[in-house]
């Protein structure tokens, strides 16, 4: 246990990398997912079909396959190497965007069509209707599944250790490799992962409270 404590600064470095990967993936997939989710609801049918196919495909592929595809596969095609951090973030973003798109689409479609009509009737254009009428209502239905997805992103980020990024997972492995005490280190690692996700869930509960308005 003493050894585990001794390794904490090193594990902390790993934790920061895990947080960085998760944060980048979360932000990119949020922006892309909301955009694609909106297009999936209101876009022209070629867009809708492309997005549909993308989401269905991604859902059927393990994240780790995507990471290897981008890290080992793409450089062969492009004939120049890709930095492992960049490859991991890109692959996980592609993976997560598929899920966020579906969450956003569901949230937007759950808003009664009359809301859009009422917006049209007072002369609001498409983006005004989205920003002032649809999104503020959809966000309440979007948040709970999205935060759930976010914790998956944090946990899923452990996969980046497979392409040599020293995140929390790989940091744990490296310490174990030096001190031959797996259990205490896995426990410390689990606690760190848990704390990140627990923080996310409680933050989201506060956020949901903020977006709760009286209705029905």
């Amino acid at each position: 246990m003493e050894l585990a404590l001794y390794s904490l600064p090193f594990l902390w470095q790993g934790t920061l990398i895990t947080l960085a990967v998760a944060a980048l993936v979360a932000v990119f997939s949020l922006v892309l997912g909301v955009l694609l989710g909106t297009l999936a609801c209101f876009g022209l049918s070629p867009f809708r079909w492309t997005i549909r196919i993308y989401c269905d495909l991604i859902r059927g592929i393990p994240a780790v396959v995507l990471i290897f595809m981008v890290y080992y596969g793409l450089p062969v095609l492009l004939s120049f190497p890709i930095n492992n951090f960049l490859a991991a973030v890109v692959a996980l973003t592609v993976f997560t965007t598929g899920q966020v798109t579906e969450i956003a689409r569901g949230a937007i479609q759950s808003i009664h069509f009359g809301q859009a009509e009422a917006g049209k009737a007072i002369g609001l254009g498409f983006w005004s209707r989205m920003i002032y009428v649809i999104f503020p209502q959809a966000v309440r239905r979007f948040l709970p599944p999205w935060v759930n997805n976010l914790t998956d992103v944090v946990k899923g980020s452990a996969l980046v250790s497979l392409v040599g990024i020293v995140d929390l997972m790989l940091a744990i492995q490296q310490v174990i490799g030096r001190v031959y005490e797996p259990m205490p280190l896995y426990i410390v690692g689990s606690i760190l992962y848990f704390l990140i996700n627990y923080g996310l869930s409680s933050a989201s509960q506060r956020l949901e409270g903020h977006f709760a308005y009286i209705r029905e």
Partner: protein, 268 residues
Amino acid sequence: MTAATASNDPVVRIRGVGKSFGSNRVLNGVDLDITRGEVVTIIGPSGSGKTTLLRCVNALETYDEGSITLDGVEVCYRDANSRRHRKERELSAIRAETGMVFQMFFLFPHLTAAENVMLGLRKVRGKDKAEARAIAERWLTRVGLADKFDSYPAQLSGGQQQRVGIARAVAMEPKVLLLDEITSALDPELVGEVLAVVRQLADDGMTMIVVTHEMAFAREVSDLVVFMDGGRIIVEGRPDEVLQNPSHERLKTFLSRLDSTRTRERAS
């Protein structure tokens, strides 16, 4: 949208409007003029096309044939001949000139009563917050909701919600107000308060197209009553002519059915 029309030109001019949903022909050559300050009531059995016609006037539906103009401007198409659909931005500008009140209210549930009225004033009319708020308060007061500015829709009764819906529409100062069965979703005891607001608007000279099943109300406020069936206008005339002494067979049947439903409702 120029067309500084003479005051006796119709605000809304409907000519030969036809529309089909697949093989179902919902509008079948409708002609109608609504002049400034006039209240036109459309009655008819469900499926007769009256709501669709109303929704065509502010381009919530498109029409396949014919022409609808608002103050001389073709509503759905860039010009009546080419049938090229208007761009979203042009449609928004036209819709801003028409007010619509919905059967199911469709208030924005995340906004207070005042904010519901303010949204269009701010984002479409470009008024600043204080001015929009002042206009919203004035209209909400006029519809009898002076104590409900900061209430959310869910805190209001159906009748109160619908009055917010009316305030939201008229605050934009539309050229024509479209009312789509606005009391049909209300409890009977709440109908009166909403109709009183509409009556007041009619007295103030608001141009309105009203789709309703309230025959007593139609008789009272309308300058013109239009009976539609099968996507056509069958009878049109002054309310006493059309409603008191219906000459047309289908209109007679429609009115008598309506009466018997009312009687049954009261009996139960």
